[in-house]
């Protein structure tokens, strides 16, 4: 089971640290340029989507051959802060009546599930996309909801995990690719990532 963990100052793929020179948003850009590089839409994304996108790319790069164009793969993600990081940016564009220029490009990211859409668009995944918000990280809850997602017979594997972005430079993601009947997928495993 492949997994990735991205924190503000570190990137770990299947237990191996990826060397990075920067932190926060600059680190996400650095990793994009070094490891991805072919998707300029990345620069239009808000911080939550940049985080989720980088994590998903690093995760999927571990897969060979990389699966694209399928309805059999679901994207089910969780966090604590919803889209609040971008919500605050949008609020800034409307807070002042004298400087009132609501931005559609910022507003479109004021929904947490947009990252599940970004991953689907990038990889042509037509399967389930779901986003749920928890009061705090809860490996048991994530585990149970993902296991139950396999009740949809179309779903053969799930990109899942925690993608939380409190502010531009305070974020954490852990993401894994779980196949149907994966025995090692347990709350303990999620906790260890």
């Amino acid at each position: 089971m492949n997994w990735v963990r991205v924190r503000k100052d570190s990137v770990v793929i299947n237990g191996n640290m990826l060397a990075t020179e920067s932190t926060g948003q600059a680190m996400l850009k650095e990793v994009y340029k070094k490891c991805i590089g072919d998707y300029p839409k990345f620069f239009k994304m808000d911080a939550l989507c940049r985080l989720g996108f980088v994590a998903s790319e690093l995760l999927l790069q571990q897969e060979s051959p990389r699966v694209v164009n399928t309805e059999h793969r679901a994207v089910i993600l969780f966090n604590r802060s919803s889209s609040l990081c971008d919500d605050r940016n949008y609020q800034e564009t409307i807070q002042d009546s004298d400087n009132f220029f609501p931005s559609p490009a910022v507003f479109v990211y004021t929904l947490p599930n947009i990252i599940t859409g970004e991953i689907s668009i990038r990889n042509k995944y037509y399967g389930e996309t779901l986003f749920a918000v928890l009061k705090q990280f809860d490996a048991r809850e994530i585990h149970d909801i993902v296991c139950e997602a396999f009740l949809d017979s179309m779903t053969l594997d799930v990109i899942t995990g925690w993608v939380d972005c409190e502010s531009d430079d305070d974020f954490e993601a852990c993401m894994l690719l779980v196949a149907r009947d994966e025995n090692n997928f347990t709350p303990e495993f999620i906790n260890e990532i």
Binding site: F107, T116, E141, D152
Partner: protein
């Protein structure tokens, strides 16, 4: 079988399902033009609660308006009225869960002028609502844009089907705010007039406030005269984060999944999203056509309520159930003349039906789409 044992709709049209159904049957709506509301510079048409209406009701049931935000009060009102119908439910049981569907919750708390209780975290609101009733399991907030209300019901179905829970309370709600209204305005997605779903002159959507609750429980067999949640599916367009797919891809695939092995002639209604934006309604018509549902009666309730976001999936499911209980396919308020490239079976009048199964369809930002199939127990 997973059956609905209680429900509630709390909207500007009324504070219980029966009142809402009666109002809709009369063709009423609370869509009104609002000027200078929340200091939004441009006027907008929306279905909003009267100022203070939620707090007044909340006080009347003994709630502390200084402790709970407007959003939390609205959720609690709706859940309380649904729970009242099933006093035997043990809310505190480890086998009972709460699933909340919302897109923006307390987002108005981000405004520097906000002086109400609570904060902007959805998990905080969820905890407040859960503690009010004494739920002991972790409340889940499903926040999946406009399809949240169906996703929440699908998550609930699965939680019961897997054996994890016996009873799940699903509440969907959103309150409107300067944040949401100006955002939709910046998208040029709002109509200045009452929305005209599927109509040739449709120009955009109206926003609305509401909460709705449905309580699901597992029962054996189908001889119970209750509405059953038969299947649900969520699919993505994999196309664009805000624009619907030109081929109705995700909606078509979601419909295909829930109707697998189902005789389409038995489906009495597809209650669609029908936001009244040019692209959404066109996309849905294409998806319905691809699924050979273009001759099946369809309707949308946006002309009565506007787009109630996190509430929509629950509210529209519950009202469709009540209408079919009365043998009625509700009229699509605002519709006059077919305005989609694939003609669909939509009507401005209420229609009679004897059908006892229907499909609920939604789509939303992030390219997400969801469908659910419902059937009444005891029906052929």
């Amino acid at each position: 079988m997973i059956v609905k044992i209680a429900d509630n709709i709390t909207s500007p049209l009324g504070f219980d399902t029966a009142t809402n159904y009666a109002a809709v049957l009369e063709g009423r709506s609370c869509l009104k033009p609002h000027e200078d509301k929340w200091n939004v510079p441009e006027p907008f048409m929306a279905s909003l609660f009267e100022d203070g209406a939620i707090a007044k009701r909340f006080s009347a049931i003994g709630g502390n308006v200084h402790k709970y935000s407007r959003f939390e009060q609205l959720c609690i009102l709706s859940v309380a009225l649904a729970l009242k119908q099933v006093p035997h439910i043990d809310v505190a049981s480890k086998r009972t869960a709460l699933v909340i569907s919302t897109t923006k919750g307390n987002v108005e708390a981000l405004d520097s002028n906000y002086s109400g209780p609570g904060n902007e975290y959805l998990g905080y609101s969820a905890q407040m609502i859960a503690e009010y009733f004494g739920f002991t399991t972790t409340p889940i907030v499903v926040s999946n844009a406009c399809i949240s209300g169906l996703c929440a019901q699908i998550v609930a179905m699965r939680g019961i089907e897997s054996g994890r829970f016996d009873t799940i309370v699903v509440v969907g709600a959103d309150v409107q705010s300067r944040f949401i209204v100006t955002g939709f305005q910046s998208f040029k997605a709002l109509s200045h007039e009452e929305c005209k779903p599927f109509d040739i002159n449709r120009q955009g959507l109206n926003l609305g406030e509401a909460a709705a609750t449905v309580i699901y429980q597992k029962v054996e067999g189908e001889n119970h005269n209750c509405w059953m949640a038969m299947s649900g599916a969520i699919r993505n367009d994999a196309n664009h984060i805000s624009g619907p797919s030109r081929t109705g891809e995700g909606s078509y695939r979601a419909l295909r999944a829930v109707l697998e092995g189902v005789d389409i002639s038995q489906i009495g209604l597809v209650n669609v999203h029908g936001t009244s934006t040019p692209y959404n309604d066109e996309m849905e018509a294409i998806a319905l056509g691809r699924m050979k549902l273009d001759k099946t009666p369809i309707n949308t309730l946006k002309g009565y309520y506007g787009h109630t976001m996190g509430a929509a999936g629950v509210l529209e499911t519950v009202l469709s159930m009540h209408a079919l209980d009365h043998g009625i396919v509700l009229a699509t308020r605002g519709y006059e003349q077919c305005g989609t490239s694939i003609p669909v079976n939509v009507s401005a009048q209420h229609r009679n039906t004897s059908a006892m199964s229907f499909v609920k369809l939604l789509s939303g930002f992030g390219g997400c789409n969801a469908a659910m199939l419902f059937k009444k127990g005891g029906a052929a």
